[in-house]
Symmetry: D2
Subunit: 290 residues, 4 copies
Amino acid sequence: MKKVGFIGAGIMGRPMAANLLKGGLELYVWNRTRDKCNDLIAAGAKWGESPAFLARECDVTFSMLADPAASVDVCFGLDGVVTGIGEGRGYIEMSTIDPGTARRIADAVTKAGGRFLEAPVSGSKKPAEEGTLIIMAAGDRSLYDEVEKAFGMMGKMSLYLGEVGRGAQMKLCVNLVMGGMMAAFCEGLALASRIGLDLRDMLNILDAGAMSNPMFRMKGGLVLSNDFPVAFPLKHMQKDLRLALLLADEAGQSLPATAVVNELFKKARGQNLGDLDFAALWRVTKESGH
Amino acid sequence: MKKVGFIGAGIMGRPMAANLLKGGLELYVWNRTRDKCNDLIAAGAKWGESPAFLARECDVTFSMLADPAASVDVCFGLDGVVTGIGEGRGYIEMSTIDPGTARRIADAVTKAGGRFLEAPVSGSKKPAEEGTLIIMAAGDRSLYDEVEKAFGMMGKMSLYLGEVGRGAQMKLCVNLVMGGMMAAFCEGLALASRIGLDLRDMLNILDAGAMSNPMFRMKGGLVLSNDFPVAFPLKHMQKDLRLALLLADEAGQSLPATAVVNELFKKARGQNLGDLDFAALWRVTKESGH
Amino acid sequence: MKKVGFIGAGIMGRPMAANLLKGGLELYVWNRTRDKCNDLIAAGAKWGESPAFLARECDVTFSMLADPAASVDVCFGLDGVVTGIGEGRGYIEMSTIDPGTARRIADAVTKAGGRFLEAPVSGSKKPAEEGTLIIMAAGDRSLYDEVEKAFGMMGKMSLYLGEVGRGAQMKLCVNLVMGGMMAAFCEGLALASRIGLDLRDMLNILDAGAMSNPMFRMKGGLVLSNDFPVAFPLKHMQKDLRLALLLADEAGQSLPATAVVNELFKKARGQNLGDLDFAALWRVTKESGH
Amino acid sequence: MKKVGFIGAGIMGRPMAANLLKGGLELYVWNRTRDKCNDLIAAGAKWGESPAFLARECDVTFSMLADPAASVDVCFGLDGVVTGIGEGRGYIEMSTIDPGTARRIADAVTKAGGRFLEAPVSGSKKPAEEGTLIIMAAGDRSLYDEVEKAFGMMGKMSLYLGEVGRGAQMKLCVNLVMGGMMAAFCEGLALASRIGLDLRDMLNILDAGAMSNPMFRMKGGLVLSNDFPVAFPLKHMQKDLRLALLLADEAGQSLPATAVVNELFKKARGQNLGDLDFAALWRVTKESGH
């Protein structure tokens, strides 16, 4: 693997691409708005004229985009990845997309002779910058083996999970746990607050024991300030909970606690908190009871 | 503070007393069954003939017992703490007891001229041995200041939370979060298991990200082996959730997610899993859906 | 049974006593405020000077009071039922009281040689006036047999349910269903309202099918007008749900749906809707999501 | 309206068509398996050779089929309704179908010059026979006015709810209430059963008061016998709850109680109770806690 392409220079994509560059790879970049690639180009990356160009010229092309619609465009649109990719080339979709879209892209890439991996990540802006993402890859095994080293530049852990779809499924299971943890965190703090305990004491206690985790530390600060600048938008968390519940419905798995957690996030979304960080669930939990 | 008493030499009490001894304090011990104190005595502790004797002879007496009934007995029974304690002596109840019992003991000790602290702990056998408990103290402030150093021998953190009752309340809030985390953990793993993902992969992913915490690490191993040797009994967790919900009821705080989590633990208790570790919730979560 | 006593002339008690009078019984009445008995006395009832007087002079004395505290007072207070009741006399507590209080009263009455029934009712003001209450009796069987005819004057159905405590338990089970039905009703209407369906249409459809019931008819009108004059106070419904959940906890019965319904009523109570009719749950259901 | 067509002669369709015949209409029938129409033909109906034939020859054609797939086939398949229908003819889909399918059929029928109504019903086998269905119609208003009399032969109530989609939405809202009522019913009975109350007593009490409704009467008998011959399959109830929750999700309406009820039905479905009557939820409720 000599030449590598990267599509998408947003909050996540730019630092990820930068880490590939730091790792010593020859990097071609493309973004709808070229300006966003200036820093990368200044640091040694080359501009590729289109997704098709990257897919054709590079051994492997990664993409990290804002939403499934952008993924579809970049892949199937004019001068899209599908029109460029050929025998043996690899395409790796790191955006979070639904299983149906993932399969359509996989089919198109494979038909054109290419190889495909979905590789959604866990972790947001900061881990992307620090190269400590967790990468849940699924699809072509040979391609996974070839890019494992590149994954290592962007993340602290990558896993190969099987056929296309497994990556997205794993991410839903993980985010289900995250949503439930947040609800437990908010309800415990809300009770403490209601009966007049000091939330700082409670956060310190939580952080000293077996439940201690970085998320409680980070989000505890947001709760104390009742200010929720977005790292992972609440509306995305609620969407993931809905998708996890639908997956469970198909599979016949009853998830009573998660179902209620989803309704709480849904209520928060309905109160226009959807674009804040998902820790803004606090506002709904705290107010309920007034 | 020169002489210190310790009542209770069970799984928790023995290592806690041993840590006070290691800390250089002059220690008197008492336990219903004297045999259990043999190791402590061999290590330098002195046998006290009754709770009353300890309360009278020592500057401060700690107790750590199995249940509220034992606490009541040790305090109000024949040759109990209340009959021995006098002007300026301190009594510190570290067992988890209900607020009503705590207040009764506090009143009796205070009336007799003594000072009282409730000081329930977070952490089980291992942190007791390693001196890394978290101590949530409430009651007499001057007594707290005097024993803070002794608390430091048994725990890695102690907090003074205010009037008697605050310690138990804080513990309920913290355990509410713990119960909710466990439910989220089990439901996420159950969905993963149901759709055929590898639980080891999921545990690794959880452990690599912002949710990473010692509890998931420890309990994840139990889930994989489906074997749940008790550290914190499931029935105690359910009792704490029930008490937390009653506290919230009085305070007018709605806790929908916790209410469902409590019903899940209740179901587990009803399936004779109450004496296993609270991670045995897994069995209920996993089976629901078959 | 010739002479009958009736203690309590409130919203429920007055029409119930009136129905006993219409049924042709010789009736003695007592109420803390004598004025409230004026209508009954004008209609032929005699004034009894105290609860003790009634208990002594009458073959059977019924009571219907506002809360457990009033029941305790009337029974154990100065010139209370216990000081008057003697061999063979009957005392029937129709107020809703907790099992502990019921047992204390039963013990005292029995010790004094009397016989006791608890007999909580289902139905509020209107059924009390129309003599269509449902009476859930428990305690002394021979007393039940003697007063069955009197129950028939106050209610359209009476059942003997066994030992003291069974009446209150049955009432909790019945009210649990009522709370759950109300939650389902409100959530269904809230969804319909949110998506722009006409609530009158939906109420008509519900009333035409297998779910058709008087409660939905009555409460549907309240929902349409968003006005909730109290028939059964929301705070009492929430109290009954809490007690039902505690009963289930002791018995090891998991009730996930009821647990969430209780939290919804708790939220409504916390929003100062406790003194409105329990159909005011609508306001909480409707707003959630804004 | 002189000639009327009826497609589908299953458990629901046959008695519905029979009621149109009894109402004095000239009836043409079609069913995939002609044998099922024998009784109708013996009673005076005429055989129509295909859906297209009915749509062409009759002023209005009704259909009542087992599932959306059958509806699509009958409409778009070889000799389907769409190929026959023309200027001014009416087509009325009374099967329960999803909004997407309803709109596709509506579009095709309208394009061909016909008029369309979706008209899902509430009520199962018995109301179909007795002509006491509830009909939730939506679509072409002029067609509704013309067939209102025919609806009156099949149902005791019909409502015009607006544009295509409103009928299906209303049915989901109504079934949401039905699912919640069943969960409340089962949990109340489960608690009663667990603490040793007589379920017959409780059913009698429920039937005597404000909650009294035909559904509790019918399903109470099933619960007592623990035998659940299907009237409305549990899996269909769970599907409707899932669809109602998705509708609420889109609309931003939080439904915590319904979310848990859905999980309970899902659990029942997962325990192979999906083909029994939806009252088989009892088995899941009763067992939880063992």
